[in-house]
Each structure stands twice: as structure tokens, then as C-alpha cells.
């Protein structure tokens, strides 16, 4: 299954891994911050509804 990369294995693998790691970090950060803000907002809305 693994393609034969010859002497450039490190090069090709390295750049794919670096790309995927960076993109994954970006996605994770985006989702995490999104969830956090969403939670904070709904908590705030809930509280304001209660207090009128």
C-alpha cells in the first residue's frame, strides 16, 4: 500500500505530516473556541432571561 518514496521519504512524509498537524491544530482551536463562546453565550442568555 505504501508508495515507494525512495530517498525522499522524509521530505514527502514530513511535509504531509506538518501540513496535517497544522491544519488539525487550526480546526481544533476553531472548534474549541466556538464551543466555549457558544456555551458562555447561552449561559449569559439564560441568566438574563431569569433575572428579566
Amino acid at each position: 500500500m505504501m508508495p515507494e518514496l525512495g530517498k525522499y521519504t522524509v521530505t514527502v512524509m514530513g511535509s504531509y505530516i506538518a501540513t496535517i498537524a497544522l491544519l488539525a491544530a487550526l480546526v481544533a482551536l476553531t472548534l474549541w473556541k466556538g464551543a466555549r463562546v457558544k456555551r458562555a453565550l447561552s449561559a449569559q442568555e439564560e441568566r438574563m432571561k431569569k433575572n428579566g
Binding site: 525522499y8 511535509s15 501540513t19
Partner: protein
Amino acid sequence: MSIWEYANPKKFMQTSSWALPFVTVGAVACLAVGLFWGFFLTPEATNFGSTVKVIYVHVPSAMMAINIWVMMLVTSLIWLIRRHHVSALAAKAAAPIGMVMTLIALITGAIWGQPMWGTWWEWDPRLTSFLILFLFYLGYMALWEAIDDPDTAADLTGVLCLVGSVFALLSRYAVNFWNQGLHQGATLSLDKKENISDVYWFPLLLCIAGFVLLFVTLLLLRTRTEIRQRRLQALEQRERMA
């Protein structure tokens, strides 16, 4: 019905929540297929060996790095002229994505350059101007972070984006003059598709589409987060006033 309808945050939230699943699926599908195809199924190029496979992450990220800045320029202009808040928030949301894209282009370029040119880094015009672009992204994001009042921040970063665009372009040509480089010219101009053979071309198209869709997905997600955060701030302020 016009594009300005989406300047209404509520409308934007509705439409984006409807559109998000589609672009997410599209991004994942294009990226998965494109990268898989590029990584496993393309032959070695005569003069690049197997390193030609790096093109599938290097070129799309480099394209996005520039295109995202252009998108930020457009949204900043819309904010400065028509004062739609969603526009400014979209620019803010796009900046970190653009920065990561620039970083990917730089890192994969360095990894690729090592076996090809025998050096990790070369002060070549393209590499140098990308480094400068990276600095501009950093400055832009730092300015957003530093200012408390959101409208002031949006205005100032908007002006910075305009001035920065001019100087990024200027730097590109200055750097070109300063040092003729090793980097090959554009591989993908529309009039010369023969530059690159079909075997490499189709997976590359898929990867570019995947990167664009990924950007749209992340942009929608981040803009939604920014809108929520603004609403949260407004609510907190109202609570304090009451």
C-alpha cells in the same frame, strides 16, 4: 435579495448554519480524495523524484495564503465603506487561517527545498515575500488583540489592512529586484496548462478545491464564533448597566 442581506448577523447565522454541513462535507471529501490521490497514486516526476508529491500541500496553501489576504482586504473595505459588522468580523476570523496557510507554505517549502536546492532556506524573492506576508498577518492579528473597543479595533485593522496590502505588493517587487531566485515560476497559469501534465493536474485541482472549501468552513465557523462573542459582550454590558 442582494448580498447585503448577509450583513444582518441574524441572517448570516441562519444561512451559515444551513450551509455549514455542505461545505464541511465538501472540504473533507475533496481534501481526503485529493491528498490520497496525490500521495499514493501519482508517479514520480523525472526531475523531482517523489518530492513532486509535496506540491499537493505546498501550492494550495500558498495560493490560499495570498487569496485570504485579498479576501481580508475586500471585507475590510466593505467595513470601512458600508460599516457592516459581519464584514469586519469575517476579516478578523480569516486572519489566523491565512497565517496558518502562510506557515504551511513556508514549512513545506523549506522541507521541499532541502533536497532540491540543498538548503532549508534561501533568500529567494518568493520565500522572502512570503515571510513578509507572514509578518503582516502577525501584525494584523496583534493589533486586533491589543485594542479593547471592537469598533475601534475594526477600523484600525481595516486601515492597516489597506496600507499593508500596498506595502506587501511593493515588497514583493522590491524583493524581486533585490535578489533573483531559485524558485521556479508559476506552475499554474491559465494559458499554459501544459506546464504540468494531467497526471498531476487533476489531484492538484481537487486539493486546491479542498483547501478553498476548508477555508470557507473554518471562516464560517470562526465568524459565527466572533458574532456570538460580540453578542455576549453586548449582553454583559447591558447587564452591568441595568
